[in-house]
Amino acid sequence: MRHRVVVTGLGIVSPIGVGRDAYWEALRAGRSGCARNRAFDTSGFTSQVAAEVTDFVAKDYLDPRTVGRTSRYTHFAVAAATLALRDGALDVEAADRERCGVVVGTGYGGASAAEPEHSVLVEQGPRRVSPMYLSRALVNMAPGEIAIRLGLRGVNYAVSSACASSNHAVGLAMRHLQYGDADVMLAGGAEAGITPLLVASFCQSRTLAANYNDQPERASRPFDAGRCGFVIGEGAGVVLLETLEHARSRGARVYAELCGFGATDDAHHVTAPLPDGRGLARAIVRAMDDAGVRPEEVDYVNAHGTSTALNDKAETLAIKAAFGGHANRLAVSSTKSMIGHLLGAAGAAELVATLLCMEHDTVHPTVNYETPDPECDLDYVPGAARGMEVRCAVSNSSGFGGQNSVLVLKRCGAA
């Protein structure tokens, strides 16, 4: 028998706010976190827009030495984990920490640490390279650091599937709880890739929005006919997951039941989705089957919705294929319209958004949806938030490499 899994805490570090309340306030208001990229000099870059995390001080969550030996993605992850625990009011000191685990998804990890360190290697030689480079760069350092700080001695690893990473992380954490490997899991994703090398490569692959450098808040426009690429973002989302029994035993407040996970690959192309979206459609269907949820029970889909020409069209087709006639009755919105694309952290930030939509019986809007695209013809909740009951929600993610990962949540009235 599988244990039921519930979400009991939310942690978020995003371009539109840190912490659950600030994040929801911005999502509900439709506020964009996209601005001119101030992370580095963008002269010569086709896209000069980014969604940076601005109101964040790493030393609020980590001691100064740890800040120095870890990289920005780890800072975000530790902060989001700390916020999730705080939100869930879980006293880890009192928990059986051998049954508490961590899974964090990331696409790039701390690879940005290579950019300055590689210059040291080339210009000054191997004896000048910092021994801290490893602890900044490795993709598993975020979950490792969370474990060290909190003394969580259960299952712990990182997951990487580009922009599908977070949903894989949360889905796998759910499985660990379902099958009795742990009682408590912190799961999500973290990313800090607004760096010259990564942004240049995204620019060169023509995936970033390049037509809105002078109107950055309009650059991320999922499903709109004028969309021209995504806006690179950064941040982290972590959710506190528990078995239903564990949550009940401590009287925890429950946001929702995490009940379905589906994962597939397009096996088609390294960057382009299958044009008909059937790889993502299969993941949605698998996730709903896993949850025991019929398509008609779903009220809301939090789309991957990147604002690229190819994704938004293929995802629209995927939703139609997975939901059939119910697709037209779904509310579908893209968190990326406001926070940009958090890459490996995207699914986690969007999971937190989805849970907040359920909590508030309000679906956040897709901003900048102004000119309909005949090939994107679902209800994308344009412009303004909508009050509506969200009893069951689906959250989609897809990544370069063809990976698709989908989560299903439903209201947990029984808990």
């Binding site: 030495r65 030996r69 004896r127 000048r128 910092s130 801290m132």
Partner: protein, 95 residues
């Protein structure tokens, strides 16, 4: 005595700069870095931070501190003395 910038520096300046580098890595004030301060017991330096400290000092002064010699360093005063000796001897990194 020559700094990596090529500018001649005084022993007191080397001493001050060593303590500034240590302070930056360990996130402490230079006032905590008296010559008798123990790296492990007073400053909580672990093996990774110690290696990072050595690398930063080697970078800063363009010297090479052999591992065997580094392993004997216990206090801030011993670190500054070791760097002084290397700088004075004109030992240059061959890295």
């Amino acid at each position: 005595m020559e700094h990596r910038s090529g500018v001649r520096v005084q022993p007191e300046a080397v001493d001050r700069r060593v303590r500034e580098v240590i302070a930056a890595i360990l996130c402490v004030d230079t006032s905590a870095l008296g010559p008798e301060a123990s790296l492990v017991d007073d400053l909580g330096v672990d093996s990774l931070f110690f290696l990072s400290l050595v690398t930063s000092l080697e970078r800063e002064f363009n010297v090479r501190l052999p591992d065997a010699e580094a392993a004997r360093l216990r206090t801030v005063g011993q670190v500054t003395a070791a760097v002084q000796r290397l700088v004075t001897a004109g030992t240059r990194s061959v890295a």
